[in-house]
Symmetry: C3
Subunit: 352 residues, 3 copies
């Protein structure tokens, strides 16, 4: 692995190897205190974050590395109109690994074309968030021993949730996983996810109620529903209570259910659920740090490599208004195939 | 000591032990270069600061530790409505010690209820600032050998100054300290401080003039008076010059007077006072860093500990509009006794 | 060397020694991994930057040092009206070296008067940027073996470009350098630079066209022309294309021409020039980091030293509205001689 842009790029074997190293780090953290000694991580957060930002920083520091970067692009030259390419060329001259969160979809992919060092996608718009997925899989594996054969409920905004899309695609690499997709109709998974699941013969049901399916689940992955996601605010009001997890709803849940949430959580998990031993969302955040430590011991220790010349594009071929190609016009017009359909290689949107 | 929320919680013996370690660090800093190796400090500054923020960072770095955090909460998920509890649960999963400054009174106390690691209060609203107190006591002890028996003048805004309240309560642990409280009537110490001093039989006088008492003092602790603290702006104008320290006023001071100030200073100490050998406010800032190094070698090296379930409150019992319980409604309704009176355990305000 | 305020203060011998250490670091970086172990750099950026800020941070981290500071003064006490002197007194109590960028000219010089540790000027208004110059000279020396005898073209806004002024003054220390000053008339070098060059008998021509002189050059140093620098916006439009470097214009350039730019670059170098082997501006950024590593191994390892009392001024003698003396009135009225003329010792502006 050179860059981590999309968790889907890892094979199951690569994931197993990553998890093994993560497990070793969790068991003997002191053995890894100098694993990245002398190595420097550039942390480029073009939009606010606490969890991912701090998780990566703490991870790099705990493997003996160091960090520089920004959490607020207003204090950088981005205001002076510098391109993403130039920023990456410059930063990858200073750092051994680049971690980037950017509101534009495909930004991390774009960065990887120009960087002399590995790039890790810390979240690109509503597109991908691969290290959240490594945190999620690490949590499930560490607490349940394995992912194979589990019944996994994903609840909330399944339409806009990049962590959900990334997790579904990752869980697809395992055997016998049963997917319970719990969401209001308006916020059901996008068609391309449904197509993906069908294409791989995955077992899944789509339901609009949470309480009914809770007894079936081994894992319940909660996500936040934002008012703004509903066209009709009354629809939000009607749906609000259904997708909220309470102590009462947990009464019929399995003893070893894992309740997870990528955080931040607002009111979709009641605060008294925190004290239920099945609530593992805070441990999940900590496992995310260990998973990032495992990633960094690999990616931050690689040799520098000139990526070579890249075709210079003339403007976007993609029509997704939030694609990085809309603002960085020199990006090459890369195309990939998703299920036989031509898609933008940066943001995965279908090309017309 | 597990958390440092209020300096008043330390016994004199605990302070002596802390000062001994601080002294050792000042004498042989190289011996402590790795005292916190592998340990990570989370620095959460919800309101701006330079001194305390930098002092803690430099301190952690000089004992071999590392730091992550924010100095400006706008670049974090706080904007997304995350509770203080969730932030602390998440951050204490990444760090070995949490340092927090927050505009809400009682915020550090609240954080300590949920954190898996020690919490250090770097200032909570107008309430407490225990590490300023450790800096102040370290300065006096290092430069005068001892605190016992000193005549200490505290000058300026004694009503609103949290550093002053904390320092008075700390000096009360020593023997034979004489307190000269120098302030305009409108900004005299609050009644609860006067009650505290009477209760402990401390020797103190309250005066409105600075020049007259200077010859009596071993320590003069200056603080800033802000215009906004006076209801009547004319009152500010009338009082302005009296509480300003000049070279001339120092002519009648003792040879070994210590002139201190928590900084930042605006005009309450004239700039030509800086070159008088009795002006020690810049050394005071540096001693504050050493005092924080001593604190961190203790608190950052402790074992992680699950704090356990906390009673879930239903809203504030306290009526202080600046208490943390006003905005974090799940906080338990904790009550403490201050001089036999029921007070909020977070902000110390008297409960009605 | 105690402080680095103006590259012009270094003798040629001092530069050679600095370059030798920089070269050793580039050849064997692992040998310097702990050169600044235990040392702390304060990074005070009063105005935004990416390059210089990150370059210094990465540099300090790579020589085993640590960093604290701000990139956005809004999150500090500067808002509370603290003087530069007090900030420096406090920060130099915490750090072993201070790196400062400030929009006011002469700010770094002012800081050096009060600091207990070395101060490095990371850019003061439009005045000086000595570490950019060290980056530039390092690049030329590393890639061409020597600076002596080279034909150097400087193109763009030569009137307002502090990096250009500093580079010209630095190149003047070498033998046989030929200067091609390529700029629109309105943005030609200031008179004091012309006088400086004449005084030292330097070979230079001033031209308004880029294409014609390219075949003569060994080094082409491009800088950005901002629209706002022209009184007449039409003048900007007329001139825009002339001072832009394209692949086509490079066709007549020497095989081993070095194309440099301090970055950020907007459109003054076309993006397809990046893939020409003569384009070295990204390596230039990286060499800048190595040059800063060399600087820090010297300046961050010096002993602390009390600078002693400084005369207290009564207000500015200088009439440059952007001079630090306009806002920090206590600064001493220091005067220096530039070519026999009385100038402000902070900002170099001629005194009336």
């Amino acid at each position: 692995m050179r860059h981590l842009i999309d968790f889907g790029d890892l094979t199951r074997a690569e994931w197993e190897a990553l998890y093994q190293r993560c497990s070793a780090i969790m068991d003997h953290p002191a053995d890894f205190m100098d694993a990245c000694r002398g190595r420097v991580m550039a942390s480029l957060f073009y939009e606010p974050s606490t969890r991912t930002n701090f998780s990566f920083q703490a991870a790099m520091l705990r493997v003996g590395g160091t960090v520089f970067g920004f959490a607020d692009p207003r204090s950088t030259s981005t205001a002076k109109g510098e391109t993403l390419k130039d920023t990456i060329k410059m930063v990858s001259g200073y750092a051994d690994v680049v971690v980037m969160r950017n509101p534009k979809e495909g930004a991390a992919k774009a960065a990887s074309l120009y960087s002399n060092v590995p790039v890790i996608n810390a979240g690109d718009g509503g597109h991908m968030h691969p290290t959240q997925t490594t945190a999620d899989l690490t949590t499930i594996t560490r607490l349940r021993g394995s992912v194979d054969g589990l019944s996994v409920g994903l609840c909330g905004d399944l339409k806009n949730g990049r962590t959900v899309h990334s997790l579904i695609k990752a869980l697809a690499k395992f055997e016998g996983v049963k997917f319970y997709l719990i969401a209001p109709r308006e916020l059901a998974v996008p068609e391309y996810i449904r197509a993906f699941m069908k294409e791989r013969g995955l077992w899944f049901v789509e339901v609009t109620g949470l309480e009914t399916v809770i007894p079936q689940l081994d894992v319940l992955y909660m996500t936040r529903i934002q008012r703004e996601r509903f066209v009709d605010p009354l629809e939000y009001e009607r749906n609000k209570g259904i997708y909220v997890l309470t102590r009462r709803k947990l009464e019929r849940a399995r003893q070893n259910l894992l309740v997870m949430h990528p955080l931040p959580r607002v009111d979709e998990i009641a605060i008294d659920v925190d004290d239920d031993p099945r609530a593992v969302y805070f441990e999940q955040a900590r496992y995310g740090m260990f998973a990032r430590m495992a990633l960094l011991t690999d990616l931050a220790n690689q040799e520098r490599m000139d990526p070579g010349a890249v075709e210079i594009g003339k403007g976007p071929v993609c029509s997704n208004p939030n694609c990085i190609t809309q603002t960085e016009h020199y990006l090459p017009p890369l195309v990939k195939q998703n299920g036989g359909v031509d898609c933008c290689a940066f943001c995965d949107a279908q090309l017309r």
